[in-house]
């Protein structure tokens, strides 16, 4: 426990100092993207990892957050940063509706339904061009940080990621977390011991979707351009899930580790392997899922446990 605290404070210090350690804009940009995906993977994990509701439609919530910023920027005189507050508010009723439809379904049926929800959102954004600009998208003018420095953005996204992780940690140690895990392990049994499963699944979805919308609002303010292919593709939903699976489903550090590794490795591959970069990425994906079915965290744990067991045997 004490050791964990020391690690954590060293890591926090490193993260706070990072923009000064990596002064190059490109490195800062990659760090910002990594932290954004840390937040997205962790937010997804609340619903997908803890409650076991494997959504492949989270791009919808991300897109709603991002489009809220875009619409504020194009239709009002307010700062698009208000989307950080308005996005989650807007996403809540939609998330509840999605939950109402999809939570009747179990297993792969639920997953397929969330894919459909995400695709419907994308198609609506693409075709409702009066509001969203359609395929042309929306350009956002920088409103608060008009300079070229990335440091303010870095700290904002660091804050979002930290809050998301803290929430995950908090939930995993409280009643809500235990209920969610009970639902994940056996929904019928959870129901029979008096857990209102639909209610708790909806709570998990609401928190997860709101956090995702906040990340989406940040993305729009940082990237300054929004169109359906950028903020609403199925590929984004898949990428978010990948972070959590590769890292370790249902653990707090899993999605964090997954996001850091996947984002950095795809960037390294893109720089090193030219045309073959996606091929190598895909092959690696297959290998990790085959050989580390419970993610890197699980893989490490198994390795570690195996190691201790062996040493015990030796000492015995």
């Amino acid at each position: 426990m004490k050791r964990a605290k020391i690690y954590l404070s060293v890591l926090s210090l490193f993260l706070i100092a990072a923009p000064f350690l990596f002064e190059a804009r490109y490195s800062q940009h990659v760090l910002i993207l990594v932290l954004l995906y840390v937040a997205l993977g962790s937010a997804w994990n609340i619903l997908g990892g803890f409650a076991g509701q494997l959504s492949l439609g989270h791009a919808a919530f991300f897109g709603i957050g991002a489009y809220t910023a875009a619409v504020i920027a194009s239709k009002t005189t307010l700062s698009p940063w208000w989307a950080m507050a308005a996005g989650p508010l807007l996403v809540l009723p939609i998330a509840l509706l999605v939950g109402w439809i999809c939570f009747r379904l179990r297993g792969p049926y639920f997953t397929l339904a969330t894919i459909a929800v995400g695709e419907v959102m994308r198609l609506v954004a693409l075709n409702w061009s009066d509001l969203t600009g359609g395929a042309v998208g929306v350009v956002i003018r920088p409103s608060i940080f008009s300079g070229t420095s990335k440091v303010p953005y870095y700290y904002i996204v660091l804050f979002i990621a930290a809050v998301t992780i803290a929430l995950c940690h908090g939930i995993s140690r409280r009643k809500l977390g235990y209920y969610l895990m009970a639902i994940r392990e056996d929904e019928e049994t959870a129901e029979s011991i008096g857990i209102d499963t639909t209610k708790y699944k909806l709570i998990a979805l609401a928190i997860s979707a709101s956090l995702t919308a906040i990340a989406g609002a940040f993305y729009a303010n940082y990237f300054l351009f929004v169109d359906p292919t950028i903020v609403l593709p199925l590929a984004l939903s898949v990428e978010i899930v990948l972070m959590a699976i590769i890292g370790g489903l249902g653990t707090v550090p899993g999605p964090v580790l997954g996001a850091v590794l996947l984002k950095l490795s795809s960037e390294v591959f893109r720089n090193e392997f030219a045309q073959a970069n996606l091929l190598i990425y895909g092959a690696l994906l297959v290998i990790v899922i085959l050989f580390m079915p419970d993610g890197l965290i699980g893989g490490f744990r198994r390795l570690f446990r195996l190691g201790t067991r062996k040493s015990q045997r030796v000492s015995a």
């Binding site: 990596f22 190059a24 804009r25 490109y26 490195s27 940009h29 990659v30 993207l33 997908g48 494997l54 492949l56 439809i101 379904l105 792969p108 049926y109 997953t111 397929l112 339904a113 894919i115 459909a116 695709e119 419907v120 198609l123 609506v124 693409l126 075709n127 061009s129 395929a135 042309v136 350009v139 070229t148 990237f223 300054l224 351009f225 169109d227 292919t229 950028i230 899930v241 990948l242 699976i245 489903l249 850091v260 590794l261 950095l264 960037e267 893109r270 720089n271 030219a274 045309q275 073959a276 970069n277 996606l278 091929l279 990425y281 895909g282 092959a283 994906l285 297959v286 899922i289 079915p293």
Partner: protein, 697 residues
């Protein structure tokens, strides 16, 4: 941790050495992903410029290109600008390919004050932002619109225009320009239809257009869609006075190959043609052909020009200071193979677009009069007159043009017919997925990629062994069956006990690997094939039915029936059904469950391959992403029919096909996929066992 270190090290060391004797230029283009074939065309163009500059150098130094792959994603394109603009040894940037990638990339470049030249992004937004560092070589979308409208009023004498455009940044920019310009010139817009890029069947859309009775049609599409739009216009006998197009797919050399004789007479805006009267453009095209054994397109020329403009600007600036280079680009004055180069105050090169018509299978410049090589052939002869002319040997342009209006009932029948036929293909793709799901509960995300493999196999069998696509089923299906069994034994079986999301992601990984292997082996270029019966139709009471589509439908039904009989009548079939109902009980009864699963997976993959074979005579072309749109469609089909049910898949496929085509004709083409997904969600929530209920086969 290792990768963090590598990443930090990569940033600080990269590209510091050798800066003094070479000048570096950052190039952003799509080497992978959906736009990779245009990235390749650009790469050839840059290479041409580099060859030319190599000999003399720039300011006595070597020019060095630093390529960055944007993987066809806007987010990555802007990331590469972040990366390259940070490097002091890089003088300027150019790229990307598509409008949606270039636009955000240009914004970043302007923010960081690095000269940025856009070779080929046409969206008007780029020059409307007040950027100081961004220059565009090609003409913009509104230039396309203006030139076309001018041509339609002055030359074609058209008054009713139907606009059909792909719903992308490029497509909607050009369409919007036409929508704004046409009324001013007295042209009425009678149809304005968006469709999702990579369409698989345009007959409903074209039926809708036909019933609007236009005398001119404007298509704004990329290659794959362009080919299919023209072939299907012939199939449903759409006969406007003139077919026009907003460049892109319609002005690429591959269009002539892909669309075959249906390309004849189409008129398109283009940025450049090899026969253009500009200085040296013919010689350039010849050099290009010998160098790359590839027909040059305007994308290559634009890339070439961008680098030539930059080299000239650096030379004139006498320095590699970014600001000096930018000011020199602004005052560029070149007489080039792309016409005169001159940037206006918003950084737009005032490029004159040309209009070409396909005459005798070649792009011929017909407009503006100053550049025209031959007069346009107008009006376009109707389809039936063309085939008659081909038989009688005359040119056949004399038959009077009839603006055929379709009656309400004909329109409905045509829509139903095309929905039904498309549904047959959907069904076949769905069957493969449904039996895999039924037995293994695996949601196979690689299904579309497997269809693509079937398409490539069919293409190669046809092109190199002259085996008819319908006949190639005999080879493709067993081959794909074996591949499926191997795939199952090596990759799928080990994860059957893992959480279902792992299985989904594993199959997604397999899909990425298959698509990118195809990309490396066959490049991203379309491979097109034309069978002798391509575009053949028969007419049934005013409804035209495509013969290959009809044949594909019939074979799909036969295969479905065969699979059904196999599952019901044979011992192995019974074992498969037993396994899909209760795997453990089946195991207890002595069924070798592993063998059954491997067989089922092989069967599912064989069905996907068969769908690929049947698609080729309808689809005419294949590229690495050709199968991708089918994955989601297959899921919809499977859910509609009830997971695991073969007869259900047939019903589901037909229901989806009909819903899409009716939706496209009577609601809006852009929302046709929404209709599919809404039905899907309704069935999932209200009747999860599928439309047929509790059927188990």
């Amino acid at each position: 941790m290792i990768s963090i270190c590598a990443f930090a090290a990569g940033c600080s060391h990269e590209g510091e050495q050798g800066a003094e004797n070479s000048i570096r230029v950052g190039i952003i283009t799509s080497l992978t992903g959906a736009e990779a074939r245009f990235g390749l065309a650009q790469k050839y163009g840059y290479q041409m410029a580099l060859d030319e500059i190599e000999a003399r150098g720039v300011l006595g130094k070597r020019l060095e290109l630093v390529y960055q792959d944007d993987t066809s994603k806007p987010e990555v394109a802007s990331l590469t600008v972040e990366k390259l603009s940070d490097r002091n040894d890089i003088v300027a940037l150019m790229g990307a390919y598509s409008s949606s990638a270039t636009f955000p990339a240009a914004a970043v470049a302007d923010r960081y004050h690095i000269p940025f030249i856009c070779p080929s992004a046409t969206t008007d937004e780029i020059t409307r932002q007040g950027y100081q560092w961004v220059f565009r070589v090609c003409a913009s979308a509104s230039d396309y619109g203006r030139t076309l409208v001018e041509f339609l009023t002055k030359v074609a004498d058209a008054h009713k225009l139907a606009v059909v455009y792909e719903n992308t940044q490029f497509g909607s920019s050009v369409a919007r320009a036409a929508l704004e310009q046409a009324p001013r010139a007295g042209i009425e817009i009678v149809a304005y239809e968006a469709y999702d890029q990579g369409g698989t069947d345009f007959t409903p859309l074209l039926t809708r257009v036909k019933s609007a009775g236009p005398d001119a049609v404007l298509f704004v599409s990329y290659l794959a869609d362009a080919t299919l739009l023209m072939r299907q216009s012939k199939e449903i006998d759409l006969n406007p006075k003139v077919f026009t197009a907003g460049g892109a797919g319609f002005s690429l050399p591959d269009f002539l190959k892909g669309a075959g004789d249906t390309a004849e007479y189409t008129i398109s805006v283009t940025q450049w043609t090899p026969d253009a009267k500009w200085t040296g453009s013919r010689d350039w095209a010849d050099t290009f052909r010998t160098r790359f054994n590839y027909e040059p397109s305007y994308h290559s020329v634009q890339a070439y020009m961008s680098l030539m403009i930059l080299a000239d600007a650096i030379e004139r600036a006498g320095s590699t200071e970014r600001i000096a280079v930018r000011d020199a680009i602004r005052t560029s004055k070149l007489d080039s193979i792309f016409g005169p180069i001159h940037f206006n105050e918003v950084g737009q090169n005032e490029h004159q677009v040309a209009i070409t018509q396909v005459l005798n299978g070649k792009f011929t410049t017909i407009w503006p009069p100053s550049a025209a090589i031959s007069p346009p052939v107008l009006p376009t002869p109707p389809w039936r007159a063309r085939s008659a002319a081909a038989e009688s040997g005359s040119t056949g342009a004399h038959e009077a043009h009839i603006a055929a209006l379709v009656s309400g009932s004909e329109k409905l029948l045509q829509t139903m017919a095309s929905g039904l036929l498309t549904g047959g293909i959907y069904a076949l793709i769905g069957i493969g997925l449904t039996i895999i799901f039924g037995v293994m509960r695996v949601v196979n995300f690689a299904h579309g990629a497997l269809v693509m493999v079937g398409m490539y196999a069919t293409y190669f069998l046809f092109t190199y062994s002259h085996i008819d696509p319908f006949l190639s089923l005999v080879v493709v299906m067993p081959g794909m069956f074996v591949a499926g069994v191997i795939l199952h034994k090596t990759l799928i079986a080990p994860v059957l006990r893992a959480p279902e999301l792992n299985q989904i992601l594993l199959t997604e990984g397999i899909s990425i690997v298959l698509i990118n292997t195809a990309l490396l082996l066959f490049t991203s270029n379309y491979l097109t094939m034309t069978t002798s019966y391509a575009g053949a139709t028969f007419h049934l009471g005013g409804v035209s039915v495509s013969k290959p589509q009809m044949a594909a439908f019939a074979i799909a039904v036969v295969i479905t029936a065969a699979v059904y009989v196999f599952l019901v009548r044979t011992g192995t079939g019974r074992q498969i059904r037993a396994a899909s109902q209760d795997a453990e009980a089946a195991c207890l009864l002595g069924i070798n469950i592993k063998r059954v699963q491997a067989l089922t997976f092989g069967l599912g993959v064989a069905a996907a391959g068969a769908a690929g074979s049947l698609l080729m005579p309808i689809y005419y072309r294949v590229e690495p992403n050709a199968g991708s749109p089918f994955t989601l469609k297959a899921f919809v089909v499977v859910v509609l029919g009830g997971m695991g049910s073969v007869t259900g898949a047939l019903v589901g496929g037909i229901v989806l096909g009909l819903a899409e085509s009716l939706g496209a004709v009577y609601v809006a083409t852009g929302y046709k996929d929404v209709i599919g997904f809404v039905i899907f969600l309704l069935v999932l929530t209200l009747k999860p066992s599928g439309l047929l209920g509790r059927s188990k086969v």
